[in-house]
Every structure is written in C-alpha cells, then in structure tokens.
C-alpha cells in the first residue's frame, strides 16, 4: 500500500492517455513512442531524454517538409501519415493540427 506522510494514497486514476500509449507500446517490435506538440516540443516519451530531443527536432522539420510537398502538388490534399523506413527500424508519424505521434518500430524484432 502506498503511503505518503502516513496517509494512504488513492491509486492515481489511470488516464486514457496512458492507457492508449500502453496499448501502442505493446504492439510487436515497438521501440519507442514520442508525442510532440505543434511547436516541436516533446510532451510525452518512452525513450531517454537525449534521443527524444533529437527525434523531436528532426522529425518535426521532416513532417513540415513532407506536408508542404503534398500540398504544393495538390492544394486540396494534405498529409495523413508518414513512414520512414531505414535499415535498422521504421519511424511512423501520425500528424495532426496540434500534435504528432511518433512511433519507432523494428518490425523484425
């Protein structure tokens, strides 16, 4: 039983955000999840600090470039999903107006 200053704590209400992240993390081969806000600042992460900051900065720029590419080709179109596949793993990015969800997966794991 967790106590703080002798008082019993209520278990923290499991919030939906955490539940969702846990479900995604449980998928096969997922190495890390980062949620970045519209300014490119990471607000939630399962990786260490330095990797998170690196991914957040670089991917934010990449998503902006990808989005402008899609809209330049057809102004009525817009980016819905971005996948970057490399030798070692795959980075999946789900963009939105206010947040990006970045998931790093190694499919062969």
């Amino acid at each position: 039983i967790a106590t703080f200053l002798g008082r019993k704590l209520q278990p923290r209400p499991q919030n939906e955000v955490e539940e969702t992240l846990k479900r995604i993390q449980g998928q096969k081969g997922v190495q890390g999840i980062i949620i970045v806000n519209a300014e490119g600042i990471p607000i939630k992460t399962t990786l260490d600090n330095s990797s998170t900051v690196q991914y957040a900065g670089l991917i934010h720029q990449l998503v902006m470039k990808a989005r402008s590419t899609v809209r330049d080709i057809d102004p009525q179109n817009d980016l819905t999903f971005l996948r970057v596949r490399s030798k070692k793993n795959e980075i999946m990015i789900a963009p939105d107006k206010d947040y990006f969800l970045i998931v790093i997966q190694n499919p062969s794991d």
Partner: protein, 510 residues
C-alpha cells in the same frame, strides 16, 4: 536556641560568635568546612574533517513529485486535446504497426547508397627509404583526428639492448594530390628510437611520442623550426625504461588533454603540456608493483624486479576512470585513475607521490601482452593478444576470458576492434598477416586474411581510420606502412550486431 545570636562585627570577617553573659552562656561551636568536587579533568583537542564534500538538496518542483495527491475529483491538468488526438489516431497507428510486423514487402530489399566494394585491396604502401636502409621497423602508427594524415614511428622492437640509434617519425597526408608513397610529407628526426605514437584527439597537428630512452615528447607539426612543443627531458620524473604506450586523456580542467605514458619500468605517468616552457610537467603518476597486484590465482614468484613492466595499455571509451594494463609477464589488470592507495615503491625523487592503480586482475597469459583494446560498442568487453598466439575476448566483470581464438602460430602484436562493426576485430601477427575475425560467424576461422607481403616479417601495429571507415593502416617490420581498403562486408554493420554482441558479453565462462 533561645538567645543565640550571631553577630558580625565590622572589622572581622567570618562568623563570630558572641559569648553571652554568664547566665545565658551557651557553648556554641563553629566549624569551618569547605567542600569541592574532585579535580575536573580538562583537555584541549582539535578535530578537522579529512574529506570535505559540498552538497545541496532541494525539493522537486510540484509537478515532478511522484506522490502528488490529486485534488478531489479532478484529473491532473494535461495538454488540452491530447486525449482526443490520441483517440483519433490510435486505431490507424495500431493497424499500421500490426501490418508492418507481418509484412513481407521489404524482404530482401537493400539499398546501395554507396558504392559496394567486394574486395579488400592495398591502396598504398608507404615507405621511407632512408629508414628502411637503416633497417628500422615501424613500431607504432596513428591516424590524425581528421583521418587524412597517418604518422608512423620508426624504431626497433626486437632489439633488447640500450639503443642510441637515431630514428624518425614520418607523416603522410593521404588526401593530398600528388601523394608520393616513397616520400613522406614530413620527417621528424628523433635522437632515439620511438616506440609509441599518438595523435591528439582534437588538434590535428599535435603528436605525442614515447621513446626508447623513457622520454616523452610532443611535436607540433604546424611549426616550421623546432617541432618539439614539449618534452620531458631526462629528469628524475621520467621513465627509466622504454615507453611502450602513449595516449591522450582528458585532464582535470575541461577541454584540456594530458599525455599518459606507460613503460616497462612499471610506471604509468600523466604529463601536462606546458608549451611556454616547452616542458611536460608530471601531474600524476602510478606505479605497478607486483606485491600490490590483486590476484585471484597464485602467480608464480618470478625473480627479478618487483615492478610490473607495462607493454600495452587501453583506455575505456565508456568509463573515463578505467584503464587496462597488459604486462611483460602476462598480467592483464583493470586499473583506475582515481585510485588512492599509495604505491609501495621507494621514492626515487619524483615530484608527485605514486599511487597503485590496480583493482582487478584477469587470468594471466603465458607471455607478454602486446595489445589490448576496449570495444567501442559494449562497455564490458575488451580483447587482448600476446605472444601465445591467442586472442582472448574478456568481460570486465570476470577474470576468465569469454572466448579464446587462435590467431596465429606465432606471436600476435596488435589487435583493434572495428569502429563500425561491433562483432569485428583485426589482429596483427608475427608471420606478416593481419587476421580479421567476425564473431557473428559460426566458425572461429578468420573472415579475412590480409597478407602484408613482407616476406614473413612481423606486423607490429594496426589502426582503423577514425573518419573513413573503410581504411585500415598496418605497420610492418620491414619499415613499410600498408593502407588497406576494406570491403563493404567488413565495414557495414549488419542488423542485430549489437544484440549479438550483448549476448556474447552475457555468457558466463565455464
């Protein structure tokens, strides 16, 4: 009693009893008594702490507290809209992740960003004819931090006598057009044979060298006149025996590098560069004495000096405090820069007190340990080679080797891990071959063998280029340095190599 009075007359002190008139005379006795405690023992003493430490504590700002009582009925305030965003994207992301894990779309798909090189070839054979005429051998090579300049030191490895032969240090810039393999770009003449060489890790013009006489010199190749930036000279601080290893290690101040030198006299010394005076000043020193070596198995008591002669040294890229030492008698020791125990060596006029650095001793080898190297991909692994012809893969955590590979039937003089492939290392043999081993392969035979074409003369040293991952420089006893261009197979990291290395490191030796 009635009538008793005590009267104090003015002049007298002390209780005085007046004798009453006869009718009322009463005999009164007054006694004077004093009392006091037994003598109180006092003593003065001073105390002072031996070690001081400054420490501060502070509570964490509110939102980092783990146990934060939630206000009644409310959730912790979170980024607005995050929940809804995740709700929207979750299904799509999970579907993609699942189908990606099952997908065969990319099986066998490889992209060639760079030119694939199938073969290993020797692209340069660098020689200095005047050194070769004197029969000097290449004792040590070093790449500059930019990866374009290779420096090689000439001296003798097989000569046991005190040598006063003049030798040199030559450098070639491989990226320069008009590279002449027979003519070095720069030749630095040295009065004694040079046994070890090391470029500064960030300043491409500084080279540190260790000489046969025990001196340590730092050259600055940017200078035009006298190339010596600093040297130890022959003082009471210097080594008395050949210096077999020099290296640059971070110094106490940030950004400063000091020179580490280790020699067969059993001393590991740290020197700061004083370029104004042109001197290397001894800043710290360690002495390896046989009696202070921690041993877990009985070592034979050799007759001879109690110094443990150092023939090789390796710095750990993971832990700046640890270094490994290989000795003439086959000991491999794990040492620490911050060891505080004083060395049991009689003071010999050195300006700093020598400390004993050895903390752990690995299982001893059957002959001098010529080379050690810590793996750049795993913090606990290192490989050691010596005159018994074997390469031992060790973990820092246990005394016995994890793996023992037969490299050659003769001596093995150098070993280096590949900077790009976690499972690959190369070893230089006394038969003139460089054997490259791939630990990911099932067989224990080498993945590649590079024949130095020296007619069977030994190969003494080898170094991978820190910038260009496909170049390997090899120094031979016939005075030549061969630059090899390795195939893609030997330089490209395969999938899961780091995991396999981790698995290897976790095996416990039987």
């Amino acid at each position: 009693m009635r009538g008793m009075r005590m009267v104090l007359r003015k002049k007298r002190i002390g209780p005085i009893v007046e004798v009453f008139p006869r009718k009322q005379r009463l005999c009164l006795l007054a006694f004077q008594r004093g009392c006091q405690t037994r003598p109180v023992h006092t003593a003065e003493a001073e105390i002072q702490p031996l070690l001081n430490a400054d420490n501060g504590t502070q509570t964490d700002p509110q939102d980092h507290l783990i146990y934060q009582l939630p206000p009644k009925g409310e959730l912790r305030p979170e980024s607005p809209g995050l929940r809804d965003f995740l709700h929207r994207v979750e299904d799509m992301v999970v579907k993609e992740l699942a189908s990606n894990a099952k997908s065969h779309a990319f099986d066998g798909f490889d992209v060639n960003w760079e030119d694939q090189n199938e073969t290993v070839s020797c692209i340069h054979c660098l020689q200095h004819p005047s050194a070769q005429e004197k029969g000097l051998q290449v004792t040590s090579i070093s790449w500059s931090c930019t990866g374009s300049v290779i420096a090689c030191a000439f001296g003798r490895v097989d000569d046991g006598d005190w040598s006063t032969e003049k030798s040199c240090v030559c450098t070639w810039n491989l990226d320069r057009r008009g590279l002449n393999p027979k003519r070095p770009d720069m030749v630095i003449d040295v009065a004694r044979p040079v046994m070890s060489l090391s470029f500064h890790p960030s300043q491409p013009s500084l080279i540190a060298g260790g000489l046969y006489s025990g001196e340590v010199v730092v050259w600055d190749t940017n200078r035009t006149q006298d190339l010596i930036l600093a040297q130890t000279g022959m003082s009471t601080d210097t080594h008395r025996e050949p210096v077999y290893q020099v290296a640059w290690v971070p110094g106490p101040r940030r950004g400063e590098m000091v020179v580490l030198s280790a020699g067969s006299g059993g001393r590991v010394l740290l020197w700061t560069v004083d370029s104004d005076e042109g001197r290397l000043v001894l800043s710290a020193g360690f002495a390896l004495i046989r009696q202070q070596v921690p041993h877990n198995s009985a070592l034979s008591k050799n007759r001879g000096s109690s110094n443990v002669g150092v023939t090789s040294l390796a710095l750990s890229p993971w832990d700046l405090d640890t270094f490994l030492v290989g000795s003439e008698s086959g000991l491999v020791l794990k040492c620490s820069f911050s060891a505080q125990t004083l060395a049991a060596a009689p003071p010999d006029g050195e300006s700093v007190t020598l400390r004993a650095p050895a903390q752990f001793s690995f299982s001893p080898r059957g002959g001098p340990v010529h080379s050690l190297h810590c793996s750049p991909f795993h913090r606990n692994l290192f490989v050691s080679v010596g005159t018994d012809g074997l390469a031992h893969l060790h973990s820092l955590l246990q005394p016995d080797p994890l793996l023992s590979l037969r490299v050659s039937d003769s001596y093995v003089f150098g070993v280096r891990w590949s900077p790009t492939r976690p499972l690959l290392f190369a070893a230089a043999t006394g038969q003139g071959l460089v054997q490259i081993f791939d630990l990911g392969r099932k067989s224990l035979r080498p993945a590649a063998t590079l024949d130095q074409l020296t007619g069977g003369q030994p190969v003494y040293c080898l170094e991978f280029n820190p910038r260009r991952k496909d170049l390997l420089a090899v120094g031979n006893a016939d005075g030549s340095v061969n630059i090899w261009h390795l195939s893609t197979e030997l330089t490209e990291q395969g999938p899961r190599e780091t995991a396999k290395l981790e698995q290897l490191a976790n095996e416990v030796a039987e």
